[in-house]
Symmetry: D2
Subunit: 464 residues, 4 copies
């Protein structure tokens, strides 16, 4: 890494762990291509070396585009160490296990009447995914400690909270944070509320200033302003108006057709009862609430305006992306630069001192939320400034939602211990108390054992 | 109140609010009769004046017993103020509403598949009971502020937590605490474990020293010693031995025949999963846990070795006690002195400086449990010493049970606000998130409304 | 206040309390004149109406300058209410009492061997100044509550901590913060260290990112980075190099000639002993330390490279400024636009949503420094964003300086109580424990009484 | 250790480290001789083996006394390990270094105008004593960890705070606490106040119930009751009455004749200014306050009614005690049983389960004083119960004394680090900020170096 006289940074090295991934990796390529004050190389490491190689080809195509403002050199590496050595930034975006394991996460509980709308963060599926993810994250953390201890580490992998916790548990000196765009969607909903209730158009989500307090995918906005005005009263009117019908920002994006769309009815329901804005998609939120509220059945979920994401859908999407990747690599399909909504590159630039930036992020609680245990991985705003990532003081979890949030936060801490200690009994103690697991203890045990059996290839260290 | 040269206290005045009660009042009469270093008068106030009158007669009979060591003067008062004026101690033991309201508390939810083993503390029943109790407690608190602001106030009424909270909310300077004997039963279980696993006999429960940390009826023992030995490993063996069959200390006390007996299977189950000893009867504990664990149905409850307490059973018991009271008052049945297991008189003596005493008590959290919000009503040990009641530092809620305990504690704080503000919407927000209420939101609302309707005579202030 | 389509704000109203002041007011005029995205009016209120009138004339002259990018309308008001009504921002920059009182603050203690280098913040002088300032600030706070409760309030008056505390004590809903440029000077010293030790030139102080933790004029930097590099090791080398000789950034600014210049020897001494960078001028820092270290005598102060600011010097400067004001108003001397180093206008723009901004500020502790009492007025970074001022989480006061900082912070809280309650006895209890007051209790009392007597015109409410 | 059927404990082993000591050891012998429900052996270890041998003879003489209720076997050991192996209790009462080192502690600072009334806890003397004590305590802690990790460890050695801190720093699992009788003296002063102001006689100090909050020798009573009455108003009258003349409980005990007597004027002065009762002898208290208050000179100390304890006086007393020891061992002087005021044996009995006991003790802060850092060694009440030592929740340091107490507490924590790390520079950073060290930094350094030189025989590990 080298600063130039023109206040730019050259010769940066970014290590991308899970560098064969589609989607996320391509977003990054686009965003880097337009970042005209930084340049360097991206080492792509993936357990699927071929996929990393494909991305190497795709990435290097960006240089040829006329609108490419910054040329980056992409290359696949055969080992994790090779990718990490000397890295200034590390991006982690991996899939722990395969979609076959995810099918167990999501669909085995259905036999017991437990439906999950995502299944990668919490609930039985999120828990199992945690158990197999943590050992992999530990390997990466140890690699970072050895090869690039001062690198900034950006994680995109779910379960976000558990990945960040495992990174810090393994290498306490790590400079890691987790990024998630779910909060952005809620800022956009506030933009929609401004438009719908006040006729104010063309506000960008980043103009809506919010206070974020909670944990990933179950974080909350308890303060939102635009041009100095408190937006919560407007949001209340908006929620009242759409609480029964739901709100769809754009007609063509309908939850029936898209795994990530939703009608925000869950958010409205929670807000009208508890007074804070849950800041994630309804699919995620529903999984943290008592099962009876939104997820008793697929039908109930649909009645709240969201669908269940099946693993078949995921497999189909992945297959499409693989095909897209193949075409991009072969030149059948052109690569194009399209600035994504992600903030990763912005954060890098801020950490390099090229701008100041305040946004939401997942890091260990050191007091930014004083009424959650220290060390809980929390999602709040933070200031990204040259060489420093400092949480903004978010304040306590509001009393009205404390019962819900603390229940999850404490369970996550205990699950992190279970994973760290490879202790299935401790994991079960969390499992049986999950909001979605409304089973008698013996039934819960049967489900748990069945899920462990179904994903045992990735749980060998727990089964010794 | 007057101290004598012989280190005794004369001319004490005790105000008994709910002074027409059976059971509790008679225990107190017995315990006072043997307390040879204190004497004075007891003013009995009850909304049922006749019942207080009956207890006046009964109370005054004790003086004639040959084994009466301390003569007390009992008298009924027509007003609360008369009873409170000049009181050194106030005892509160009232029934909020009648058993008809309690029938709504306990049995209306059954129509929605919700079974409660007690229904007076938490769950839908405990919540409704809270709503109608708090306004009554507020009246008493204002009376105390006016008539005897320095009196020590002992509450026995359930819901304990909410009564203590309402006392302090109304009169922040009050010197109130709540007493509950559920912890004693758990000490006795430890005595049984010592006997059963080690053959050690004749240990009294008070010899088992414990650390108590939690909230009433859902408090926990995370440290227990006898003769310097850690009892938790012994309890673990004991729990393993009896986890499937349950343990009945005495053959004749069987949960099938007694509303308060239980087989401790719930306690064993919780201990083996979470590592701390839940310190209340199984009937109470079950109501704080996810419904699916122990209370899906009466049959499931029975399979865990405890029964549901019906209101009919309560009515029958009350009727028996009324008859017993009539006989005692008329002289058909003699009064007898039998030292109860309650500690109220011991606590009074300690607060008067006649002894030192450490036991468990319910008071606002001022830091004795540092990871619960300040002001939460917590149950921990406290030192009773001349003129001072000081909590022992209990330490944090252990991480393993934090998800369960915090969920309840936060809900209770929010419910206290709802009751204080006479806000049914806020109350419903708690209701729908109760561990026993596993209903879709709309169904939960129907149940809630039905329960409000059924007890509306006592909820007028909420319905304006 | 009105937002335009071009993302500018018009018709702002700024109330300037102390609007007759020289210096500060003129800085603001300059900075507003170049702020091309905001415009409006400034109401100048001063107990010296004539001074406000003079500034009205001066302020309105800026409009005629060719480089004036934003035209503001200045007008003096006869009442505080008139100035405050409808204000969007309030600036407070007053002199509590006159320089005659300040002469008592600074010079009476000299008779007792107590020398102060500033005397407006802490020490005997700062304490007396607090006593007479708080009642005046209370009047302003009540005015704000009545006339413009939602206005943002920027205080520049010393004692900063006590002014902010009094504002919040009087009107808890106030949106006030205190600005101080002392930290900027320390950033500049870091810039100098970079240049001196590494030959790196032309860094602007705002590029040095710092973590600020402490209380006004005694706040500390425990983290500083530039281009990702930790600056503390560089600062250590720098401190070692200049610890004996002192460092003067510019030869012509010498502490012998300037009341605010210093050689940073105090900062170096503190850093080398305690490991954190004290972030204020040496004159201020010395007053918070044990008297024996730097302020036993004027000679000792000089030997540490700083001088004592006499009130004569202040009177002279004021007289010069008055003359300068007269000339500016009469047109004898032109007004010129020169962007000041102050950040007030930048903060206003950020709070209006025109930019984001992170800088240091004085507000009540709500947990941003978790080991200082809540409500202590602390100086840390904060994020200024559209409609929100949120502290950055600064972290605990480092253990090495806790003894020094806590001592001051606790004394300030107690002094705030004394002032609020107009309680001279409580004030004396703080006075006698001040680091500079190394007197036997009876001597301290004599000095205290003498100072009260000397400033009694402004302490009438304490003397009833 | 063996419990009998009669609720007594036999075959206890007590290890006495510093077992050759006079005074403390003999008190213990007396108290054990009357403890009729415990018996066993005492292993006496001392670096002066001969002294331990002498005490072995003296201790074994008690068995022959007609009023000896409990016979204990005393024996000297040649190694620490031998004494510790299998011990149920460990008593630590050592002299770190000799009186020659103590002469440096106490008298070298006098050359710099610094007078100390005790010199063993704080101030320059206490600091130096800490430096040489900690390494010795570490050896004992490691011995305990190895030989008797479950033993209860009672420390009587000064500096108390630093000894306890070093024990826990070295062996975190240790069950150690520190006992100090200074608080008892303050309880007795309250007894005197009751007698003097109210004519109430024959109250025993243990009847005065107090809340204790602070650090050893600078701990405070902020609540005191007797027969339910708040004693603080009475104490205020008492302090007002005697603030100028001082109060001497018994005419013959005059501070002029006794090193430990004092007139309580310091306590009265502090109380009337800060509202809490400082709970130690004036000699100790004065050393924690700004030097100018009470210790500018010997004359000033005397004017406040206390004297300076010279090392010559200590040497003389030791010599007398040695002679007394010799006579007791030889039989020239009889041993007699006289129950001491110390509570060590009572505490042992409580920890064995033979009684319950609440008293003040020094242990690490785990939240019993929530506004002092965790791990600070604090003095508060604690409950001694069978197998458990649990702090009573003392509450926060009152705001009025926080500036004074926190300053000391933070310095002690930093000094503990300095001693643990054998870091003289860190020690000096504490030294120069001590309330008694009112010297310019360079002068302070000279004193520090001189004291290190004068005690270097015991500071070898710091000087490498």
């Amino acid at each position: 890494m080298k600063y130039t006289d023109h206040n730019t940074v050259e010769e940066l090295k970014i290590a991308y762990v899970g560098g064969g991934s589609q989607g996320w990796a391509w977003h990054l390529m686009s965003d880097l291509a337009v970042a005209d004050d930084i340049s360097g190389e991206i080492a792509l490491y993936d357990i699927n070396y071929k996929a990393a190689k494909t991305n190497e080809i795709i990435g290097n195509r960006y240089k040829d585009l006329p609108d490419c403002a910054s040329k980056w050199n992409y290359y696949a590496t055969e080992t994790l160490e090779e990718a990490l050595t000397g890295a200034d930034f590390v991006v982690i975006s991996i899939l722990p296990g395969t979609f076959d394991e995810m099918a167990v996460d999501v669909h085995t509980p259905e036999k017991y009447g437990i439906y999950q709308s995502v299944g990668d963060t919490t609930g039985p599926g999120g828990l199992m995914r945690t158990l197999r993810t943590v050992p992999q994250i530990e390997v990466i953390a140890r690699g970072i400690e050895k090869c690039c201890p001062n690198a900034w580490v950006i994680n995109y992998t779910n379960p976000m909270t558990q990945c960040i916790k495992a990174l810090y548990n393994t290498f306490p000196g790590i400079r890691a944070f987790g990024c998630c765009h779910e909060v952005f969607g809620t800022q956009k909903l506030l933009v929609s509320a401004l438009a719908d209730m006040r006729g104010i158009k063309d506000v960008h989500r980043s103009e809506i200033k919010i206070n974020v307090v909670g944990i990933n995918h179950f974080t909350w906005i308890n303060k939102a302003t635009w041009r100095g005005e408190d937006l919560l009263p407007i949001y209340r009117e908006f929620a009242e108006k759409y609480k029964d019908t739901g709100f769809n920002g754009k007609a063509e994006i309908n939850w029936m057709n898209s795994a990530s769309a939703n009608s925000s009815r869950v958010k409205f329901d929670l807000f009208l009862r508890y007074g804070a804005i849950a800041a994630a998609g309804d699919r995620h939120l529903a999984e943290f609430c008592p099962k009876s509220w939104y997820l008793t059945s697929e039908k109930q979920a649909n009645s709240w305006g969201f669908g269940l994401t099946t693993v078949d859908w995921r497999k189909k999407r992945q297959s499409d992306l693989l095909e897209e990747g193949r075409k991009k690599a072969s030149g059948e399909q052109p690569v194009v630069i399209r600035r994504s909504e992600e903030e990763g590159v912005m954060q890098m630039r801020a950490l390099l001192g090229l701008c100041d930036f305040v946004t939401n992020v997942n890091i260990p609680n050191m007091g930014q939320i004083p009424n959650l245990p220290m060390g809980t991985i929390v999602e709040t705003n933070a200031a990204f400034r040259d060489g420093q990532l400092t949480p903004v003081f978010a304040g306590p979890i509001p009393a009205e939602i404390d019962a819900m949030v603390r229940r999850i936060a404490s369970a996550q801490l205990m699950l992190a211990e279970a994973a760290k200690e490879r202790d299935l009994e401790k994991a079960f103690a969390v499992f049986v108390n999950d909001p979605l697991v409304d089973l008698p203890v013996s039934e819960a045990r049967k489900l748990f054992d069945e899920m462990v059996e179904g994903t045992k290839e990735y749980l060998q260290e727990y089964l010794k």
